[in-house]
């Protein structure tokens, strides 16, 4: 390893990111399907990962700055486009943050509808993640099955909001349109189907050798690490810490239809699998009881167009964890400052800890474990620091490497 690379790593490793490694492998950075593409410098000792230094921002689009030039209502649609998977969580965080400024009570029906759509989004996001873990672990059948089931959830989302991905549904004062007639009869059989499939998958992830070998004991984080690095969402709950914004600080109608909070104790990828499957079941229950209790009445209140001066902090439980919004208004047509802290940003440090001590073959599964989308896998350069030779390993090659590495190994 060349001298300057060594010293560079040492500085960045002060305290948190300490390492003494033989070689560095750049990992990333292009990550087309994610709001936060990540580039990880993996410092390797042989094939073991000794330290990870993140470098992010490759598609930082300056959305917080752009928001300062756009009208309040236009920003709903801007923030939704931060993420294609949890778009509703973003619009929910922002609209509720602004509603908190106006001190306007929104109709109960709107709150219930928001819960239903948010939980549908959680189900589809968790299914998507489960499929991806199947893919990176070399179990593509699981990926195909799960993504087929996910289509049904997307169809429901489309039936309610008119869109599959960017729902553009939540707005100031409620939701953009009412639930279509007879939607409850449409949702219930689909949820029954999802429940049946989830029970099947839960059994599968506990018995299927491929998944057990690739996920059990892999990417383990302890409770102490979790307390130190403050991850959010499933990554926190898989270590046994029962925290969820929906319970701790109920927004929308979650105080009336609270979800059953799920935890696991192992803190590894296998426990994340079980945890997310259980959370899907909990979400189904929430939707069921929300449909049962769904009050009649208006779905939207007209709130004043001028947002009064002030500032508010708001957080929601996105599928990936706590999503934080800070909104500051100067009383004008545009917000003075909106700050967004996404769950992936909060989980990034924990992900670097999860990778430590594992091999290159585990990288795809562990990084998927923190639940970013994994487009960046398609472009990795491997640098041989001694001979300065450089070659590129595609995502498919690395995936194959992972499968070969574990071939013949039993748990």
């Amino acid at each position: 390893m060349s001298e300057d690379k060594k010293s560079e790593g040492k500085e960045a490793g002060a305290g948190l990111m300490q390492y003494s490694a033989e070689g560095m492998m750049p990992f990333g950075p292009v990550h087309p399907s994610l709001k936060e593409p990540e580039y990880f410098k993996l410092y390797l000792e042989g094939e073991k990962i000794a330290a990870v230094v993140p470098r992010i921002g490759y598609v930082h689009r300056g959305i917080e700055r752009a928001a300062q030039d756009r009208a309040w209502v236009k920003n709903i649609y801007l923030f939704e486009r931060i993420c294609g998977i949890c778009s509703f969580a973003h619009s929910l965080g922002y609209t509720q943050g602004v509603e908190a400024l106006t001190q306007f009570e929104i109709p109960k029906r709107a709150k219930y509808i928001r819960v239903i759509v948010a939980e549908l989004e959680r189900i589809h996001s968790h299914l998507l993640w489960l499929g991806l873990v199947g893919h990176w672990a070399g179990f593509d059948t699981l990926f195909m099955w799960i993504w087929k089931d996910r289509e049904r959830v997307l169809d429901l989302t489309e039936a309610i909001t008119g869109n599959r991905v960017h729902k553009s549904y939540s707005t100031f004062g409620g939701v953009r349109k009412d639930l279509p007639d007879g939607i409850a009869e449409k949702i219930k059989p689909e949820l029954a189907y999802i429940r049946k499939r989830v029970v099947f998958y839960t059994d599968l992830v506990q018995r299927e050798e491929t998944l057990i070998v690739r996920t059990r004991g892999i990417g383990r984080i302890s409770q102490d690490t979790a307390y130190k690095l403050s991850p959010v969402g499933p990554l926190l709950r898989c270590t046994g810490i029962a925290r969820d914004v929906r319970i701790e600080d109920p927004y929308a109608a979650y105080d009336e239809v609270p979800p059953a909070i799920q935890t696991q104790t192992d803190g590894d990828i296998a426990s994340l699998l079980t945890l997310r499957l259980n959370e899907i079941l909990a979400s189904c229950d929430v939707i069921d009881s929300a449909l049962e209790k769904l009050p009649q009445g208006p779905f939207k209140a007209n709130i004043p167009r001028v947002i009064p001066r002030g500032e508010s902090t708001f957080h929601v439980e996105a599928p990936r964890g706590e999503l934080f919004y800070y909104v500051k208004s100067g009383g004008g047509n545009v917000p003075e400052r909106v700050k967004i802290r996404t769950p992936t940003m909060a989980n990034l440090l924990t992900a670097t800890e999860m990778l430590k001590g594992h091999t290159l073959a585990d990288v795809p599964v562990v990084l998927t474990g923190m639940d970013p989308c994994f487009g960046c896998m398609d472009r990795i350069s491997v640098v041989d620091v001694d001979s300065s030779k450089q070659w590129t390993v595609g995502g498919e090659v690395l995936r194959q490497h992972g499968i070969e590495y574990y071939r013949g190994r039993k748990s």
Partner: protein, 101 residues
């Protein structure tokens, strides 16, 4: 953590969740000498948030492992240009500096 340009100074907010509500700790640094002590040795989770504020508002945090390094900003962002979220930052001027136009 939120950073905010107030004109003469930069305001930094630390949002702590206290189990029931957010407690915001507020501080501000003059824009002429934007320097603060890092809390990353106490609250490790703040490491990346401080690094983000350093990139977008130019506040330097003493003791943060990312001090003087970029986490979010591209390497090509001109060092002499004002940080992108300050009020002085003008996209057109920055584009000229980068010779994109």
């Amino acid at each position: 953590m939120t950073g905010y340009d107030k004109g003469e100074s930069i305001e930094i907010l630390y949002h702590f969740w206290q189990g029931k509500r957010f407690v915001d700790v507020r501080t501000s640094v003059p824009k002429a000498a934007p320097r603060l002590k890092s809390i990353s040795s106490v609250v490790a989770a703040a490491t990346l948030y401080e690094a983000e504020i350093q990139d977008i508002l130019g506040v330097s945090f003493d003791g943060n492992p990312f001090q003087g390094k970029r986490l979010l900003l591209p390497d090509t962002y001109p060092a002499e240009a004002p940080p992108p979220l300050t009020k002085e930052a003008n996209p057109e001027k920055i584009r000229k500096m980068l010779e994109l136009e």
